[in-house]
Amino acid sequence: MKKLSEFEKTGTVKVINVKGDKALRILEMGITPGVMLNVMRAAPLGFPIEVKIRGYALSLRESEAECIEIESGV
């Protein structure tokens, strides 16, 4: 399963699962399985990344992006 942290492009992906010790907060922010997530851009040095979800923009560090399993090319 591909993690969001390994998705090094911009574009839309589908959230499949959220795992790990930071999962609860990530889920609470609306990153729930099944929603579409749009990777907008990366900050200097590669992380954090800016993603759009449920109509708003969110910044995720690498350790948080690692918790999110995605499906790209949807």
């Binding site: 959220v18 930071k22 999962a23 609860l24 907060r25 990530i26 889920l27 609470e28 922010m29 609306g30 729930t32 399985p33 907008m40 851009r41 990366a42 900050a43 200097p44 040095l45 590669g46 992380f47 954090p48 800016e50 449920r54 109509g55 708003y56 923009a57 969110l58 910044s59 995720l60 560090r61 948080e64």
Partner: protein, 716 residues
């Protein structure tokens, strides 16, 4: 309507909650810290049906399943668990219409708490611009609580919320109205019946949400102080979790997913999104502002402009304040009869008050800019751009602005760390911030460099003096980075809370909020830090003025200044010098001489180290007094000469050489020698523990580094 005594205002960060709070309460607000913690508590009053009602503005939070201290307090107040704040009789949940799903998530949690809930739906104008139409009547029916649309830009709109509360009986929402499903309901009931009912002393209305917290979040279980109870709770929760897993449910995610299902169900019929959405302006701006290369450059340019403005705008005000307090002091000195009371008022109280008020222009200008940066949404972008760099040195993207402010003065910088939500990151930033070379160090650096660093040219216009000056700034920054890396080691990685930061849509700042914020910060500083600063000022005055010694007859030139002709030194200056040397501060300077001797300092510098605790630049004034330099005229030049000519009586060597000067500058770069910083750290961390640690480690580090500089230098 029902009788109300306390209303709680709840909402996500960045929803304009403080604007609504200001509109509800006007200027009748009190800001303090919650007892024992660093979370700021805002309380105000509003009038409902002619009755005065207390409004508490809870810390902004995304969830009532708290991960950070400020969220925990918001939850505990609402649940009626918090000891120092009465449970509210009603909650107003502020919801951002342009970000409905995530805001409703919090609302469904507040609805579980068994108190009447009113939802204020703001930013419908922003939502409409994005092509989102919300039927507030329909959404109110779906949720089962009143939903009142307001335009946050318009202050009058707050009245609509009040009017609704006056006219209607607000009902308590039904328990678990978001339809958790039978499996989750069973788990909640199991935990409630087998543990919470018998073991916890909390209002019954909070049982459901407490059970849900335990079910999904191990931290909530670990917080139970009694280990035996914790153990029995864990057993109960484990059973409930196993049961859920048997039903094919993920115990840590099920609640969140169910709530979002409910929210999607509510919004599917009441929210319509138009197909042709105009191009999002925020995205356009972000393409440029958060660009890999352009982003940091833009941020640096904004910072530079900001600090240049603070510097040039604050200075006239600071001069005016300085002059006013000097004039006031002179007036009192001449009006009151001479004596101790006169001295106390003039040199202790008025000078101390002046020392407090002098910081206001910088604090208020800095917060003017910070409020604008926050209000427009840029601050989050700056943190986004800088976070990669800052995490590598143990700090946070949001640490940059406070740290840079530290170059002007640590006081506003430390106050600005409030923009860092996470306590650990905020604390580390506060602890290293005073290493930034603030403007109060300049006079000391300038004096020492001019007197003892040769003005030799290195390359072209670059001189050794210039390089030393620059080196001291870099030295401060490097020490700040190293300290941050070390301090970080003391925090277990468990305490690292997630950095999931919202990048709010750009908007025009609300000028009323900017003004409010500037006023609040000024008031907090004067009222809370000012008291400590004034008290220490009076203490320092006492140390430098007592005991009152007899001036011996025929007092001639004081020690060390014998080479100068007597004509340049007035009798009054000699007396002042004599009095200072024999005061408690003077005696203390002599007393610590053996301790500071390995750094190359004598008792005269010792006195200066004590008096400069009032503010670093006082060092120069103290040396002036000790060396009996005339107040007026070319004092800098003559003090410089006197320092160069000062001879140590026992060795016959000059007291100062280049290594003494370097050692002293290193000491000033590192030591915690500023009572105002101590006072503001006490306020912002709400304890004496952190200022004590800060004083000890900074001064210890200063001693060590000065020792190395002087000893290594002298042995060369």
């Amino acid at each position: 309507m029902q009788q109300l005594s306390t209303i709680a205002l709840v909402g996500n960060p960045n929803t304009g909650k403080s604007t609504l709070f200001n509109a509800l309460t006007g200027l009748k607000q009190k800001i303090a810290n919650y007892p024992g913690v660093t979370v700021e508590k805002k309380v105000g009053f509003t009038t409902i049906s002619g009755e005065k009602v207390r409004v508490v503005d809870l810390p902004g939070t995304y969830s009532l399943n708290p991960k950070q201290l400020d969220e925990k307090i918001a939850y505990e107040v609402l649940a009626g668990k918090y000891k120092h704040e009465p449970a509210p009789d009603l909650a107003i949940v502020l919801i951002d219409a342009s970000n409905l799903d995530r805001n409703l998530y919090l609302a469904t949690q507040v609805m579980d708490l068994g108190i009447p809930v009113v939802i204020a739906l703001s930013m419908i104008d922003v939502a409409e611009e994005r092509g989102i139409e919300i039927d507030s009547k329909k959404i109110s029916e779906q949720l089962g609580v009143p939903v009142i649309p307001i335009i946050a830009k318009n202050f009058g709109e707050a009245e609509k919320v009040i009017k609704h509360i006056e006219k209607n009986e607000i009902a308590v929402p039904g328990a678990l109205a978001w339809n958790p499903g039978s499996d989750l309901e069973d788990a909640v009931e199991y935990i409630t019946e087998n543990w919470i009912r018998s073991e916890m002393d909390i209002p019954q209305r909070a049982w459901n949400i407490e059970a849900l917290r335990f079910l999904g979040n191990d931290h909530a279980i670990n917080e139970i102080p009694d280990l035996e109870k914790q153990h029995s709770l864990r057993n109960v929760v484990e059973k409930a979790r196993t049961q859920l897993e048997k039903a094919g449910k993920n115990y840590s995610a099920e609640e969140v997913l169910r709530r979002y299902d409910f929210i999607e169900h509510c919004t599917s019929s009441s929210v319509s999104t138009s197909a042709d959405v105009p191009e999002n302006i925020s995205d356009k701006i972000d393409e440029f502002v958060t660009h890999k290369y352009a982003g940091p450059v833009i941020f640096a340019a904004i910072l530079l402009l900001m600090f240049q403005a603070i510097f040039s705008w604050a200075e006239p005000f600071m001069n005016l304040i300085d002059l006013t307090f000097i004039e006031a002091g002179n007036w009192v000195a001449e009006t009151l009869p001479e004596g101790m009371l006169n001295d106390l008022i003039v040199e202790g109280v008025i000078a101390g008050l002046g020392g407090v008020v002098i910081f206001l222009p910088q604090i208020m200008f800095l917060f003017f800019f910070i409020s604008i940066l926050e209000g427009t949404g840029y601050m989050a972008r700056a943190a986004f751009v800088m976070d990669g760099f800052m995490t590598r040195i143990g700090l946070h993207g949001r640490s940059v602005v406070p740290l840079m402010s530290g170059f002007a003065c640590a006081i506003p910088g430390i106050m600005a760390t409030r923009t860092i939500e996470n306590w650990r990151d905020r604390l580390i930033t506060i602890m290293v911030l005073p290493f930034m070379a603030c403007s109060a160090r300049l006079p000391v650096y300038a004096l020492m460099i001019a007197a003892f660093i040769p003005d030799t040219s290195l390359f072209g216009i670059i001189t050794l003096q210039g390089v030393t000056f620059f080196g001291l700034y870099i030295f401060g920054i490097v020490m700040a980075i190293l300290s941050a890396l070390v301090i970080k080691q003391f925090f277990s990685s468990k305490e690292q809370s997630p950095f999931i930061m919202e990048l709010p849509a750009y908007k025009m700042p609300k000028w009323s909020s900017v003004a409010h914020n500037v006023y609040d910060r000024g008031k907090v500083f004067v009222v809370e830090a000012g008291r400590i600063i004034l008290a220490i000022s009076i203490l320092l005055w006492f140390l430098a003025s007592f005991p009152n010694v007899e001036i011996p007859n025929g007092l001639s030139s004081a020690e060390g200044s014998s080479e100068l002709s007597a004509e340049t030194v007035s009798q009054a200056q000699l007396e002042a010098s004599y009095k200072l040397e024999h005061s408690y501060a003077g005696q203390f300077g002599h007393l610590i001489e053996p301790v500071i001797e390995p750094l190359g300092f004598d008792w005269k510098i010792g006195i200066g180290l004590i008096t400069s605790f009032a503010a670093r630049e006082v060092m120069v004034g103290t040396l002036n007094t000790i060396y009996s330099v005339e107040d007026e005229g070319e004092e800098a030049l003559s003090l410089q000469k006197k320092l160069q000519r000062d001879i140590n009586e026992s060795t016959g060597e000059p007291v100062y050489n280049v290594w003494t000067a370097l050692s002293l500058m290193v000491f000033f770069a590192l030591a915690m020698q500023c009572m105002s910083t101590i006072a503001i750290v006490r306020r912002e961390t709400n304890s004496w523990k952190w200022p004590a640690i800060m004083f000890t480690y900074m001064t210890g580090l200063a001693y060590l580094c000065s020792f190395i500089v002087y000893q290594v230098g002298m042995s060369l």
